[in-house]
């Protein structure tokens, strides 16, 4: 079995009950925070934490579900790539059901496209090396958490001469997106900052938001006590009128972050302007391959480039991602848009705000 760390303390009822009590004492006015990361969204739903929050306390989801923020134009391009004869797509499972303008990767599979669900970019390298002599295109979706592993895989493909491993670069960078959302006037009183992304970029990445925009930022882990601890620190900052970066996840996150991971990422990728679902194009918020790796870019190899399309009519995923609206504010929520038949991407992934709300918090339609 895997040697897994003992996390039982972070799930103990005593610790959780004490933190819930402390939070109820701290919340003396309406407080609205944003959990930036999709894994936080999922954890809050899974542990039923929302039912433990005090009155006047609200936690809304942010732009941290990688599937949710992938623009429809990119999804369409991925589906077009999948339909090219001879191409094998390697992707994380979440992308398979994301609806494009016409169908999804799942539909393309049913029509004969070769789509392999992988758990790691190294699985895609294995496919390219051992299974398929034809091009294997890895859909490089995710944030600073996933990008270093993809970069390391590309370097390994270079080192071992595996030329048929390509990528569709669709990585996103978290700080430019947060900056974009918050610069228009924050709809929230503070940020529950992502644990995994911060392990790479470091707690220091939030200093401009905290100092420049007066927004309390607390990095949290993913166990129930981790999340509640981070929320109490946020509530305390609001009460005391402070806006600082605090790290409530020191067992994984340091001030400087993981320098080696960033070096690998920066050796392979460089920032580019990219489109986010619902947020539009944000300057320098995506990653594209550097010049030396350009022949691995599936977009140029096959001439498949994202074509801008409008978001589905009525869908407010963009507003949900900004924390301006909640899933139940959407007219399509739980009527036209359900996990069985998602309209917007926030309903597809378990980390999406709408799916998490529908599956675990929402009204019962059984």
């Amino acid at each position: 079995m895997f040697p897994s760390p003992d996390l039982s303390g972070f799930r103990s009822r005593a610790a959780i009950d004490a933190l819930v009590h402390e939070l109820s004492l701290l919340v003396d006015r309406p407080m609205r925070f944003m959990e930036v990361c999709g894994t936080h969204t999922m954890a809050v739903a899974r542990y039923g934490l929302r039912s433990l929050f005090p009155p006047r306390f609200e936690l809304v989801s942010g732009p941290g579900c990688p599937v949710c923020v992938t623009a429809q134009s990119h999804v369409d391009a991925m589906i077009r790539l999948a339909r090219i004869p001879g191409v094998t797509i390697a992707t994380f499972g979440d992308m398979v059901r994301v609806p494009g303008s016409s169908g999804s990767l799942a539909h393309a599979m049913a029509e004969g496209a070769r789509v392999e669900i992988v758990y790691s970019p190294t699985d895609a390298l294995h496919l390219a090396r051992e299974v398929s002599p034809d091009p294997v295109v890895f859909l490089a979706v995710g944030f600073e958490t996933t990008a270093p592993a993809v970069a390391a895989t590309i370097l390994e493909a270079e080192r071992t001469g595996v030329e048929n491993l390509l990528v569709h670069p669709a990585h996103k960078l978290m700080p430019p997106a947060l900056d974009c959302i918050m610069s228009g006037g924050a709809a929230v009183n503070g940020l529950l900052c992502p644990g995994h992304v911060s392990a790479v970029i470091g707690a220091k990445a939030y200093a401009p938001l905290a100092e420049g925009q007066g927004l309390p930022c607390v990095i949290g882990g993913f166990e129930p006590a981790d999340i509640l601890l981070a929320l109490t620190l946020l509530a305390r900052q609001v009460r005391e009128g402070r806006s600082e970066v605090e790290n409530a996840y020191p067992r994984a996150v340091s001030w400087e972050g993981n320098k080696r991971a960033r070096e690998v990422m920066e050796a392979v990728f460089r920032p580019e302007d990219t489109e986010w679902r619902g947020l539009g194009v944000i300057s320098g918020s995506g990653l594209t391959l550097r010049e030396g790796f350009r022949d691995r870019d599936a977009r140029t190899r096959f001439g498949v480039h994202p074509v801008p399309v409008a978001d589905p009519p009525g869908c407010v995923c963009g507003e949900v991602l900004k924390g301006v609206k909640t899933p139940t504010d959407c007219p399509l929520f739980a009527s036209r848009c359900t996990p069985q038949s998602p309209v917007g991407p926030c309903m597809v992934s378990g980390e999406g705000a709408c799916a998490a709300h529908y599956l675990t918090d929402g009204p019962c339609h059984a």
């Binding site: 079995m1 895997f2 897994s4 799930r11 009822r13 959780i16 009950d17 819930v20 999709g38 894994t39 999922m42 739903a45 899974r46 542990y47 039923g48 934490l49 929302r50 039912s51 433990l52 990688p66 599937v67 994380f92 499972g93 979440d94 992308m95 398979v96 059901r97 669900i117 758990y119 699985d123 979706v141 995710g142 944030f143 958490t145 996933t146 995994h196 129930p224 359900t338 996990p339 069985q340 992934s349 378990g350 980390e351 529908y358 599956l359 675990t360 918090d361 929402g362 019962c364 059984a366």
Partner: protein
């Protein structure tokens, strides 16, 4: 067998088919009824009502820790009969083989079916074998149908759940689903993870005989897992169910695999477990009867039926929070980060 792989000829209905049937199947699970090799089997009519069920098996991989597609096909159909209180009598087994499948593989599956039927004390009275060209099927698909007899007085249905009834699970959850998904993902977990595939009719009979009238319904939480079955019970009975996460038995290996793969064990398939809806005054008795059998040693009371919003299932999480459980939707997919 003269050939060491399956050829299209083995499904032609001619001499090669006859050789396959006589040398592989009849030698392993033959009996006088099956050996007649007529177009249909003639069975004596048993006393009582007949239960009848059918199920297809397409599991990949076909061999996995704890079992294989053969034992799964027997247990699955035996358990579908058992969940209605039926005593399983007889099964049919129909194979679709992919051309080129090693005969050795078929022998292993047939031996596994023979062992599973002997353990469950059911006979196989009908069968069929087809072969499709390579690539038109994945190795082997099996369909089993089953006949059983429901003893007089046994009336099991999820519609019979009443407010106050307790929900029991006969053992640890998610073992089969976690095993298959880790095998499929190519992750190598050492130790511990194995399918729970097993027949449940003896457990059911010991409960029905030992605690007469206690059980309103049994369900086996296969695809869709415990959460989906609880939603079905709540929906069909028009009642609400609350379950307590901390009381649900789960192996640490399964919990770890779920964390790594981003899966929820409440939605993973089980192939040797049942959910029982039991009248409140008899819940402890039924739990004791489950504990007395090897397949029910880790049984636990996990929840309660109550008036409330019809069809709703609420989970009290180990953290003390509340959340709604919904039926499984979509494939269980691994998380992205």
């Amino acid at each position: 067998m003269r050939d060491d792989v399956i050829l299209l000829d083995h499904g032609s209905g001619g001499l090669a088919s006859a050789e396959l049937i006589s040398q592989i199947f009849l030698t392993r699970y033959g009996n006088p009824v099956l050996a007649e090799l007529e177009d249909s089997a003639i069975l004596d009519r048993p006393a009582g009502r007949i239960a009848f069920t059918t199920d297809g098996y397409v599991v990949d991989p076909i061999f996995f820790p704890g079992g294989d597609i053969g034992s799964l096909a027997v247990h699955g159909t035996v358990n579908d009969l058992a969940m209605r209180g039926a005593v399983p009598l007889s099964l049919s087994v129909s194979f679709i083989f992919e051309e080129g499948l090693p005969v050795r593989t078929i022998e292993q599956i047939a031996s596994s079916i023979a062992q599973a039927t002997a353990r469950a004390r059911v006979s196989i009275s009908a069968g069929d074998t087809k072969v499709v060209p390579r690539g038109k099927a994945d190795k082997v698909f099996i369909t089993t149908s089953g006949l059983g007899v429901v003893p007089d007085g046994v009336e099991l249905s999820t519609k019979r759940a009443r407010p106050g009834d307790r929900i029991l699970v006969s053992g640890t959850i998610g073992d089969h689903g976690a095993t298959i998904l880790t095998q499929r993902s190519g992750l190598t977990f050492s130790g511990g993870l194995a399918s729970d595939t097993a027949p449940l009719h003896d457990l059911v009979r010991s409960i029905l005989e030992g605690a007469t009238g206690a059980v309103r319904a049994f369900r086996d939480p296969t695809r869709g897992g415990v959460a989906t079955v609880l939603c079905e019970i709540a929906s069909r009975s028009g009642l609400e169910i609350e379950v307590d996460e901390a009381s649900i038995p789960i192996r640490p290996e399964v919990a770890s695999a779920c964390e790594i793969l981003g899966l929820d064990p409440l939605y993973l398939a089980n192939e040797g477990k049942c959910i029982a809806v039991v009248s409140p005054d008899m819940a402890k008795d039924v739990e004791g009867l489950m504990h007395a059998r090897p397949e029910g040693q880790e049984a636990a009371v996990i929840g309660e039926v109550r008036d409330g919003r019809p069809g709703r299932v609420i989970l009290r999480t180990a953290a003390g929070g509340l959340r709604v459980l919904r039926p499984l939707s979509g494939m269980p997919l691994p998380r992205i980060c």
